[in-house]
Amino acid sequence: MKIQTREALQQLRAAAQATIDNYSCRILVCAGTGCIATGSQKIYDKMVDIARDYPNVTVEFKPHDADAHPIGIKRTGCQGICELGPLVRIQKGDKVIQLVRVKEEDCQEVFERCVLGDEVLDHHTYCQNGKFYPKPEEIPFMAKQTRIALENCGKLDAESLEEYIAAGGFSALEKALFEMQPSDVVDTVDAAELRGRGGGGYPAGRKWKQVMRQKETTRYVVCNGDEGDPGAFMDGSVMEGDPFRLIEGMMLAAYAVSSKDGYIYVRAEYPNSVARLSHAIARLEEVGLLGDNILGTDFSFRLHINRGAGAFVCGEGSALTASIEGNRGMPRVKPPRTVEKGLWEKPTVLNNVETFANVPMIILRGADWYRSIGTTGSPGTKTFSLTGSIENTGLIEVPMGTTLREIIFDIGGGLKDGATFKAVQIGGPSGGCLTEEHLDVPLDFDSVKKYGAIVGSGGLVVMDEHTCMVEVARFFMSFTQRESCGKCVPCREGTKRMLEILEKIVAGEGELEDLDRLEELAEMVKSMALCGLGKSAPLPVLSTLRTFRDEYVEHIVDHKCRAKVCTAMRHYRINPEFCKGCGKCAKNCPVGAITGQRKECYHIDTNLCIKCDACRDNCAFDAIYVDA
């Protein structure tokens, strides 16, 4: 069926809503990457099996059978608390309950007691400090969030165009096409002060205006879904959880700047995102919402997907467009900027996934509404992926200006197993570390910059006392060094030299002068690298050097790693209280560093020890421990 007019779209919306209203119950199984990994596909299959076999239960919907109130079983986008997956929501009308840790063998019970019955199952209910939270919106992790980009994530069947339309999908496109001029769309986004969510925070409206002003009339809209920052999965969640919203956002941009072709560049490591987006595009082409003369207007737009091929640098705008063109993904000197000469040398709107996902709501509700959320300079919300040593890992969206304390302790539930907070790494390999003293800094584009970090794309990795900050700096440097495209010398050589120094320090062979060299190199790369990724590559080093200089010094002077992470500084010792003198450690030691008499405490010669962990691994009495 083609949707060729505004009326047809509105009729479809009403019909789709009626379909949803008619369900007696919807079983919403989370099909985000996290929950699929913990087995949610099996839960879905099992639920379908159980429901199918039940007498008097109609699975899925037969549209014209008015008396039937079937049960719908749906696969949704990320429901948020990945840590407690597989997640399932049971929805009856407005009432929704959130079930956690549902296993295949639990499905029968869930079906009988929650779907057919109205019970709440304590053992599948989120519990914090002895209190149960059956409703998803009341779970502390969810209650403190404001969801705009992720509004539909976890609530809708991620593959169903009808469900998206019923939830108000394409209303913004409708409004733009029939009630607004392209320039109105740009003005609204500009007035909303929507800033690019990919890391830079450049105002999207300004970008669009610049494209609009170009003389060249062939223009492109490109979505950067090459979410390469390790520790970040927000964009992936939007692409796989609400693909239609991203597409609608891109269509609005295309209408605004009169573009006929768009590209979505997705990371190769996100097969789910590629599959759901491809499916969504095929569906939209089928009903005529992508293609020529959309909704009977003059607006025509086609969308293409490009899969990345494992190069982090392709997250940089000019490298990304080079990759779409079929070239090596290397950044080029700017100007000309992407808005002037982007994809195939044509003016290009290049925004990140989350930025586009925000656009439909801005068009629908207006710039004033959007600016009422967040802070003055950074309106709206930001998604973060909250990971590391934290009780509730997962995907969150909060108003700009929320503090780290609120995110880590109120939403995240504090540190894992009561560990001590040490730092949070924000902005991935282009970002920095914030510590205890920054817990009350409002997170927005401008405030965080003052402390040498960036909001970046939104990866938040929480670190406790078991994390060595020098090793973390080495880790990020090894990442950026490996991913450096090699085009400019400062980044290619600078990251390599910095990595060598960091490896030296971690190996216990550092000198104090290394710290000065490191700083000098970092400043050089920061000011001279060709692209944004190169310029920001030294930030993790500069940030840890500033905040955790004492740890660097400790590694160099005292040969001590207080987190007991750096192998070279680990000292294996035997606790005489526990050692039974069995000799197993000596037998397992590959270098003969352990000696002793049977039935007496053994001894490790630290000069011979290669720290392979074989002794500790094999000790039946936990007598071997690591000393910093």
């Binding site: 990457t33 990994a37 979410e227 920052d229």
Partner: protein, 159 residues
């Protein structure tokens, strides 16, 4: 010399994406998806077919980490070493895999062509760190022990 079937497959893939320079990456991805590596002769053939130089094709193929000129194993195990997995100790998982499969940082594929072990920067399942991906399936909360069990299970299925 490659079997004629390889060229027929390549023709099919080229027809799908179109004979143009910008089709190079998707074509190489599909060829690799089919054969688990990029046969050099086929890349030369593709370059000629889509009208680019052989040098250009190689320069692109060698730039991207995902392309491999060496045949990979039936099971490609990618150990995630993203930030979240790294701080949750992904290192020992990689070590355990290397140890149990007799691989190293230099040798990625087992002689029986069953397993290839690589690292990946982030799989986007950070909430369940540390993770491992086998072909397209993500396995959550791995430990050095559970990854060895996983290998044994796959070996049972693969032989």
């Amino acid at each position: 010399m490659l079997d004629q079937s390889y060229y027929r497959k390549a023709d099919e893939i080229i027809a799908h994406y179109g004979r143009k320079a910008s089709s190079l990456i998707p074509i190489m991805q599909d060829i690799q998806g089919e054969y688990r590596y990029l046969p050099g002769e086929l890349l030369t053939y593709v370059a000629a077919e889509i009208g680019i130089s052989e040098a250009k094709a190689y320069s692109v193929a060698t730039f991207y980490e995902n392309f491999s000129f060496e045949a990979k194993g039936k099971y490609i195990i990618k150990v995630c070493d993203g930030t979240a997995c790294h701080v949750k100790k992904s290192g020992p998982i990689l070590e355990a895999l290397h140890k149990t499969l007799g691989l190293s940082k230099k040798k990625h594929t087992t002689d029986d062509m069953l397993f290839t072990v690589e690292t990946v920067s982030c799989l986007g399942a950070c909430g369940l760190a540390p993770t491992v991906m086998v072909n397209e399936d993500v396995y959550p909360r791995m430990t050095p022990e559970s990854v060895v069990e996983l290998v044994e299970k796959l070996r049972g299925e693969g032989n």
